[in-house]
Amino acid sequence: MTEEPLLEAKGLHFSYGSHKALEGVSLELYPGEILGVVGESGSGKSTLLNVLRGEARPSAGEVYYRDKAGERLNVFAISEGRRRKLARTELGFARQRPEEGLRMKVSGGGNIAERLFAAGERSYGVAREKAKEWLGKVEIPLSRLDDPPTQYSGGMRERLQLARNLATYPRLVLLDEPTGGLDASVQARVLDLILSLAKEFGLAGVLVTHDLRVARLLTERIMVMKGGAVVESGLTDRVLDDPRESYTQLLVSSTLGDA
């Protein structure tokens, strides 16, 4: 890899009271790459995402992000205004529960448009056209454009959340269990969609999941976390086919089973 990393984390520590959620986590993410973070619940995966997106300040360690202009920014040293602006333009964040990432009383189109308005769009017509376009990309029927997400199925909500996040063409997406609440067939469709969108737009991503099958399908590299620390990392196929750490072996045998 000759390119510079898009996102770097160095020695992240984070605790809730006396509970240590992150203990010395480091990572590098390159443009166009999807990194998986796997582990049981409570292993610090979601905390890691919150730190990476600049929402939770680590007690020690740094996060660097290389912006569109090529400037390497220390995420917690820049102003809150600049951090929030990056978060609504260059960064996408899909929550585990899409209901928390959507405005449930606002139409599907309005949900997508909000991201565009936040980035400065002031034309109704343009916002609406782009909303339609994105609804199409995430395979939601255009007839649902003006319905609120309360009337959407779980899978549609997931996809609307993706559309809302991608509408400003972010360079980095953070996905927290993106298919957690979906049944198998819907899950496959959403995963497929994420993969094709990532390819189409050259997205880089960090995917948090407890589901090793999802990680295998979407990621090139993975990190295995336990008790706030990284126990093993490497190419996804290598780690899952030939786990070196006993914890990873346990995780693989218990979740992938005989697959």
């Binding site: 809150e80 205004g81 929030r84 606002v106 002031r122 609406r128």
Partner: protein, 293 residues
């Protein structure tokens, strides 16, 4: 009338309390559209009935001032009468119904039709000072949104309106950007009145007593009503004429005059209407109502 306890301070508020309000007002004028917190006191009238406006007026007024108080555009609505009476009795100032004569005009829900002049102060009674409140009720988050000028959410409301109704369905308390920086609630004036704020030569002060905030539009300040580039702001017009003075350009109240649903329209600004009638006396009144639709 209510009996007042003797020994009250001039204009009711203690000098301490007035200074607190004045300090907040100075800051508000310096940062147009920014909501400045101030430590409001309980006033002898209920919250929601103009305590913010009364505190602003009371902290500015002097014996040389000429005060006008309107509610719904009219000088003779009960609450306007009650507030005017209170201020006149505690501040010993002259009162008037003439917009042009007043140095301070306290208002609820209207801006007078008569154009304001340099040196005049408009004082607005404000129920909910934050235009973001009904989009995001948490004060903590709203402070951040204003500080970082993150107003995307305001446009979502407009988007939903245009989508559902074909136009921006906000008829009063229509938000505006002040000095291209802060989104501001103009208080529940009809959107018809919004353009009167833009580059106005008068000083506009907004007082929210219960919410303990003041904010300001200084003279000659840019006030732009929120809209889309392809759905511009429309002030709207009634399409009727005043039954009494024949004005077709002022904001009109609708009156139901019989059991059969018969209606007439009259000026909401009672002083404006009276002046027009006086100046038209003898002359033929322009034909009222039923001209257009």
């Amino acid at each position: 009338m209510a009996r007042y306890r003797t020994g009250l301070n001039y204009a009711y508020l203690s000098e301490d309390a007035k200074r607190v309000v004045r300090r907040a007002l100075l800051k508000a004028v310096a940062i147009p559209g920014f909501q400045v917190p101030f430590s409001g006191r309980e006033m002898p009238m209920p919250y929601g009935w103009g305590t913010g406006g009364v505190q602003v007026t009371a902290s500015l007024i002097g014996p040389g001032d000429v005060l006008k108080v309107i509610d719904q555009g009219a000088d003779d609505t009960t609450n306007a009468v009650s507030i005017r009476d209170f201020l006149a009795k505690t501040a010993f100032c002259r009162v008037t119904e003439e917009t042009g004569e007043a140095t301070i005009i306290q208002t609820r829900h209207r801006i007078p039709e008569t154009p304001l002049k340099e040196g005049q102060i408009m004082v607005y009674q404000v129920p909910i000072p934050d235009p973001l409140r009904f989009l995001e009720p948490k004060l903590e988050e709203n402070r951040a949104l204003h500080a970082l000028r993150e107003y995307g959410i305001l446009y979502v409301k407009l988007y939903e309106d245009v989508t559902r109704h074909g136009e921006i369905a906000q008829s009063y308390d229509y938000p505006a950007m002040v000095n291209r920086r802060y989104a501001m609630s103009p208080s529940p004036i009809p959107r018809f009145d919004n353009p009167k704020l833009r580059l106005s030569p008068a000083l506009h002060l907004f007082g929210a007593g219960r919410e303990k905030r003041v904010y300001a539009v200084p003279p000659h300040c840019e006030v732009e009503s929120l809209a889309f580039s392809d759905y511009p702001f429309r002030a709207g017009e009634s399409g009727h004429r005043c039954e009494l003075c024949g004005d077709g350009e002022s904001f009109l109240d609708e009156m139901v005059v019989d059991d059969a649903g018969g209606r007439v329209f009259v000026c909401s600004d009672s002083a404006h209407c009276r002046r027009r009638r006086e100046s038209l006396q003898g002359a033929e009144l322009p034909r009222a109502e039923k001209e257009e639709k």
